[in-house]
Symmetry: C2
């Protein structure tokens, strides 16, 4: 899991470019791509060659490093931040990573900014790996508790939505970190993988990475989650998040809210794996305040897949003249969340618990607001 | 709407065969098919050339007529019923239509059975049309109430799941009947169409038939229903059902339950359009007692669509070695249902209300059980 060749982003040996896994080709082909410029990095985020909140943050950090290599001026630093920030409106890690980079680079002499930017981007990436490993350890305890109440050998059934796997981060993943940690400890785990329309990140990315690591899993349509929970086939849900408010409202891939409702209705614990950079301490009410990105309707009306000959083609699903809408995220209210699995432990999805676990960040926002 | 050329099934003028719309070709092509034998009818149901509980019932009735034309013996009548009954395990209309046909045909001299069977099948079809027209009138009142509280011209937003449209019936549809009736009365209606994975009956059939009749609609992925309800964009949900218990638990296309949960969480009325032949008076507890058909996993792992050149091809969505599961239906508990729109009016989803509305059927089951 942690050897560099399995990471999703890395500085190339030329010292000038950055390598990524081009996730738009999965699960049919594992292809790598090279980012050589700010434009490449912005395109990679916008076109979802890289996706997942933590990986978007790391890619933005490296994108800024590529920008500084071209032109390390103050003006270009500002421009590059703005351009990267505009690529995806919902992911709070994007803003977090860019603000961190800008703060670190602003006081540095432009002549030394490019090197400093590459070093800071690497630090962002390493911290993400450390955060996710810690999330894995804390989430592992939840899986171990469930396993302890089962017949030995009987698998723990986890349902997940979208891809909050290592492909969404630099390594380990968020929602998948507890699963990989459990696998490493020899605890049998079976994962229900929501396909996650419209972009099918579950069917194409989560299924691929779980298969790659030999984790038992079954792909289901997004509609099936209620049925499998009604029939006792799910022990716990673990999902990721793109932005969680100071009160614990969880912005995540469209459809997450429906699974949280089904979990509550059936007494299934519903956990959110939450790297703390994903917390937006400036807002409380997720439904009212988290902006929901509307993406190209073509993601709904068309879908890509592999033909019997292995060629990846796009086909149209809807009538040619039907309108489509494509809301990319929804918000799960904190009341439906059993707990947040953070790098500092599993905490309640509430304003007090979040502030207590991350006082330095909650306090900073409170101070800025005064 | 009601002219014969828009029906989904009809006796051909040759007096020997039956015509259908081959729904597996929609929305990309409107193709008709001919059923000339029992085997053709069984195949049409199993391969979902025809689908939707009422249309399955009508097709089974005509299938029995085709069987009687070939061999009107008592033995073949029994065999044909068994063969048709095995095509789809969940749809209660299938059993209802076959029992009705068998009861009508058993006392008739085999020499006259084929003609009697065609006449009885036509009666089944006509009754379905009358039932759905009545459902439309009763559901129209619900839409009119909502429209009365809106600014004139502001559309009533209806969310529907799967296809309970005229394509699922002989004419009018069940969930769509109130929509078509509202359109005919000049009430502006906008329909959120769940695409309804895995077979995409919403994106391919509901969107097509609404477009065909000029009803304003927007296709969304199944995941989006919670978000649009959270944001006040849905005035009411209307879905169909494949089998509803005597207590009002609603078996319907997988994912219906998730929409009912979201409707409850957001105070959106959730109605089920319910032709009474879909009520199974022999069972109460839907989650425990309605058998859930598991269909071919290929419906999840693969999807068909039209290429840019207009060719309909099937592509694979999942990794080649990932397991898939394909539960075709789920059960929405009666507590989540605001009301049942039946041919006898809108009634509460409860044992007492259902028995009061359909005393002759509830009573027959009670008598049989004694």
């Amino acid at each position: 899991m942690s050897s560099e060749r399995f990471r999703t982003i890395w500085p190339n040996e030329d010292g000038e470019t950055v390598g990524i896994v081009d996730q738009t080709r999965l699960p049919h082909r594992l292809e790598l791509a090279t980012l050589a410029s700010l434009a490449d990095a912005a395109h990679a985020i916008r076109a979802m060659q890289v996706r997942g909140a933590p990986l978007i943050g790391a890619t933005a950090a490296y994108g800024l490093a590529l920008a500084m290599r071209d032109d390390p001026s103050d003006e270009h630093l500002r421009e590059a931040c703005e351009r990267l920030l505009a690529t995806r409106p919902t992911a709070v890690n994007l803003r977090w990573a860019l603000e961190r980079m800008a703060k670190a680079l602003a006081p540095i002499d432009p002549a030394r900014r490019a090197a400093a930017a590459f070093a800071e981007a690497a630090a962002v990436a390493e911290e993400d790996v450390a955060i996710n490993a810690a999330i894995g350890d804390h989430g592992l305890a939840l899986i171990e508790q469930i396993a302890a109440n089962k017949t030995p050998g009987e698998p723990v059934n986890v349902l997940t939505h979208c891809n909050a796997g290592w492909l969404a981060t630099v390594d380990w993943g968020t929602a998948t970190a507890p699963i990989y940690k459990a696998q490493a400890k020899g605890i049998p785990v079976h994962v229900w993988v929501d396909e996650t329309r419209p972009r099918n990140q579950g069917a194409s990315l989560t299924a691929w990475e779980l298969g790659f690591h030999g984790v038992d899993h079954t792909v289901i349509v997004d509609n099936a989650g209620g049925h499998v929970m009604q029939h006792g086939m799910v022990d716990l849900c673990i999902v990721g998040t793109d932005r969680t408010t100071a009160s614990g409202d969880v912005g995540n891939k469209i459809g997450t809210y429906l699974k949280a409702l089904a979990a509550e209705d059936n007494g299934v614990p519903f956990y959110v794996a939450l790297p703390s950079p994903t917390i937006d301490f400036s807002i409380d009410d997720g439904v009212a305040e988290i902006p929901i990105e509307q993406r190209d309707g073509r993601e709904v009306s068309h879908i890509a897949g592999a033909t019997a000959e292995g060629e990846v083609v796009e086909v149209q699903l809807t009538p040619a003249d039907s309108r489509v809408a494509n809301y990319a995220f929804d918000v799960t209210p904190a009341r439906l969340v059993s707990g947040l699995i953070t790098e500092r432990g599993v905490i309640e999805a509430s304003k007090d618990a979040i502030a207590a676990a991350f006082p330095e960040r909650a306090g900073a926002v409170a101070a800025a607001a005064e």
